[in-house]
């Protein structure tokens, strides 16, 4: 049942986000400029024509401004009839004279308005759409849609079944790239379509009660390695983003990277029951006649044509199914169970590093396992908490829509830190005769497999190639398996000693997680956290006060941390009953906490440690 689906989306944006600012330079602001409107519509026509030429149907996301433009309306109607394009409604592209008149603001991102304004804008836009087309749209979207907004839309307009709801890892890194002037802070969400929960849009619903009623799709399909490290807007299924990243040959205007990216997304069907997905959504501002940065219009145009031609070719070869957003939502609902995770074993396709990551997303977590660091967890979002996190004016998070992390190797150092302190990571250290080796230093690769458990559920297993840990007079061959059990919020790390150069040797193993919480690069207040070490009839507790304290219990049942600001409890337990559990507080220069287990390991031994995420009220 291999299926690679693409959603092609176009929006007639009468005042493209970039066009006014970038191409209108040297002129007084005037969003009603006739030339701007004409150019915007021309771009939309070009995009539609390019898709149709390649036999692809589109979803036309009408913008509020375009609902005042008769030509845009008639094109939408005509293309719906002729090509089966869906007429949908975007919450992007609000700015126009009518909007500014009514709302007296230059804000244009729906999630940043007050709840009152969100409702009023949605009613205006949906109402206007209905007046014109005689029906309500089934699909909508923006760069980000908060849960409260989606809940309102679903309640008022229940026919809506699909929405563009986030842009993968468009957060502090994108903000930084724009010299801190582009306020899309929305890290921590899924990279591929999901059924969002009513509580938090990033977190998939665990069951029907949590189901928001829509299928969410990401804005673009983004490089799961390059976007995590660098500017997200350079590495996605958006041909002009690839130009923005300068990932093209300036002489031949070729950019194999875009096709590698599409092909790697196609390859993800191996990890997702034969299903793979792509989304292309290029706003008109990217195809303007003045060119964009170093790229002249001809190159912008060529890149769009080439990208679309590649999808068209795949379709002709029977390797791609084009769908409208609403069609996709129906397909997705019929194939997806709530607990089925989205998995992606992803390799570097740009820098020549052979790095490999594994991304896992389900209703309880989003996790990234880094094979270049021995299978360490380098990013972890505790969806189990289904954190209520309202955004927009009048809430505590006017712009910050990210789902908080417990581990984030780029914002909280990870394994390597400067001189002092620790960074967030879930790894293990092996010690022998005073020498210590962290698995983060063991570069390797992994294979993916599945194991059926009960009720059609499965375990997803990452089996890492064994690594050699070399001490002065001992070599240990160790294999790690990382196991995700569907429907549970545990991550199991299993270590097997395959061989030891001295079969009688005993090494010490320290399984640990260093974590904190946050959404940005800056530290948060840790004083409300509590750390607990639980033994049989014994309990040791530390109330976080940056005092660098530590406690341990031999044979501990579990070690736990409760993080009230993100309503999360994280805990560890191990299969080795004799292992010593420990908790460690940080200090001001290292505002982290550590949970871990120390145990011994002999030749041929196998030991598992589970990390568990729960909601803490």
């Amino acid at each position: 049942m291999d299926k690679f689906i693409v959603n092609i989306i176009h929006r007639p944006e009468m005042v493209p986000e970039y066009a006014e600012k970038v191409t209108g330079h040297g002129k007084e602001e005037n969003i009603g400029r006739k030339s701007l409107l004409t150019e915007s519509l021309d771009i939309f026509k070009f995009q539609q024509e390019t898709a149709h030429k390649n036999g692809l149907k589109t979803t036309i996301q009408m913008t509020y401004a375009s609902l005042f433009n008769e030509e845009a309306i008639s094109i939408a109607k005509e293309h719906h009839e002729k090509y089966g394009d869906e007429i949908a409604l975007s919450l992007l592209g609000l700015p126009c004279e009518e909007f500014r008149e009514k709302y007296k603001t230059k804000d244009f991102c729906i999630w940043m308005f007050s709840m009152e304004d969100k409702k009023s804008i949605v009613d205006d836009v949906f109402g206007k759409f209905h007046d014109i087309f005689g029906f309500y749209p089934e699909s909508t979207g923006s760069y980000y849609m908060d849960a409260e907004l989606v809940n309102y839309i679903k309640e008022k307009y229940p026919m809506v079944k699909c929405a563009v709801a986030t842009c993968w890892e468009e957060g502090p890194k994108a903000y930084h790239t724009c010299n801190n002037s582009w306020y899309t802070l929305m890290d921590g969400g899924p990279w591929n379509p999901w059924i969002p929960s009513k509580q938090n849009i990033h977190a998939p619903a665990a069951n029907e009660a949590e189901d928001s009623g829509i299928v969410a799709i990401p804005h673009l399909s983004r490089d799961l390695l390059a976007c995590y490290d660098g500017n997200g807007s350079n590495f996605g299924t958006h041909p002009q983003n690839v130009l923005r990243g300068m990932i093209y040959d300036t002489k031949t205007w070729e950019f194999p990277y875009l096709y590698n990216l599409i092909d790697q997304y196609r390859d993800l069907e191996k990890y997702n029951n034969g299903y793979a997905y792509n989304m292309m959504f290029v706003g008109p501002g990217w195809l303007n006649k003045m060119g964009r940065w170093e790229a002249p219009y001809e190159l912008l145009k060529k890149s769009y044509e080439d990208g679309m031609a590649y999808y068209g070719q795949l379709k002709k070869e029977g390797k791609l199914t084009d769908m409208t957003m609403a069609e996709f939502a129906d397909y997705f609902r019929q194939k997806k169970t709530y607990t089925e995770p989205e998995c992606a074993l992803w390799r570097d396709i740009l820098y020549g590093s052979d790095k490999q990551l594994f991304w896992y997303c389900d209703p309880y977590m989003r996790a990234c396992i880094n094979m270049n660091q021995g299978g360490a967890i380098v990013d972890l979002r505790p969806y189990a908490a289904k954190l209520k996190w309202e955004v927009g004016i009048g809430t505590p998070h006017v712009q910050d829509a990210s789902y908080p992390f417990l581990i984030q190797e780029k914002y909280r150092a990870g394994y390597f830190t400067h001189y002092a302190g620790e960074g967030t990571v879930r790894s293990a250290k092996l010690t022998y005769n005073g020498e210590e080796v962290d698995l983060c230093l063991c570069r390797t690769h992994a294979k993916f497999s599945e194991e059926v458990i009960e009720n059609g559920k499965k375990k997803r297993i990452l089996t890492l190639e064994p690594v050699d840990i070399e001490f002065y007079d001992l070599t240990v061959k160790l294999q790690t398996r990382v196991i995700f059990t569907e429907g549970s919020s545990d991550i199991e790390m299993e270590r097997t000693v395959l061989s030891m150069s001295n079969p009688d040797a005993v090494v010490d193993l320290n399984e640990y997680i260093v974590a904190c919480y946050g959404t940005t690069e800056y530290p948060e207040d840790m004083t409300s956290l509590t750390l607990t070490c639980k033994g049989k009839g014994e309990e040791k507790k530390i109330d976080y006060a940056y005092k660098c304290r530590e406690a341990e219990i031999e044979g501990a049942d579990s070690v736990e941390a409760v993080i009230p600001p993100i309503e999360t409890k994280v805990s560890m337990r191990t299969s080795d009953e004799k292992a010593t559990g420990y908790i460690r507080e940080g200090y001001a220069f290292s505002p982290m906490f550590t949970l871990g287990y120390k145990m011994t390991l002999k030749d041929k031994e196998v030991v598992s440690t589970w990390l568990k995420l729960e909601k803490a009220n």
Binding site: H25, N260, G291, E294, W346, L350, Y351, D354
Partner: protein
């Protein structure tokens, strides 16, 4: 000295691009050079284009077409 404006294309600063910053440069028509407002980079169009080739050093696989995405 007259005010600066946009050049032929709105080139970004190659030096800032290397640190993941997209900064449009402005063009000084008297000196025939682009300059960055954020950092101290100054250069002719020729120099900008040359430095843009240089920033691609990290894309070792930019010309490669992949057919395999796992290491099995």
């Amino acid at each position: 000295m007259a005010q600066a404006g946009k050049g032929k294309l709105n080139f970004r600063c190659p030096s800032c691009f290397m640190r993941d910053l997209d900064i449009d440069m402005f063009y000084d028509k008297d000196k025939k050079e682009y300059y960055c407002m954020r950092c101290q980079y100054v250069g002719t169009e020729e120099d900008v284009l040359e430095k843009n080739e240089m920033v691609r050093f990290r894309y070792k696989d930019m010309y490669k077409r992949f057919t395999k995405f796992d290491f099995d």
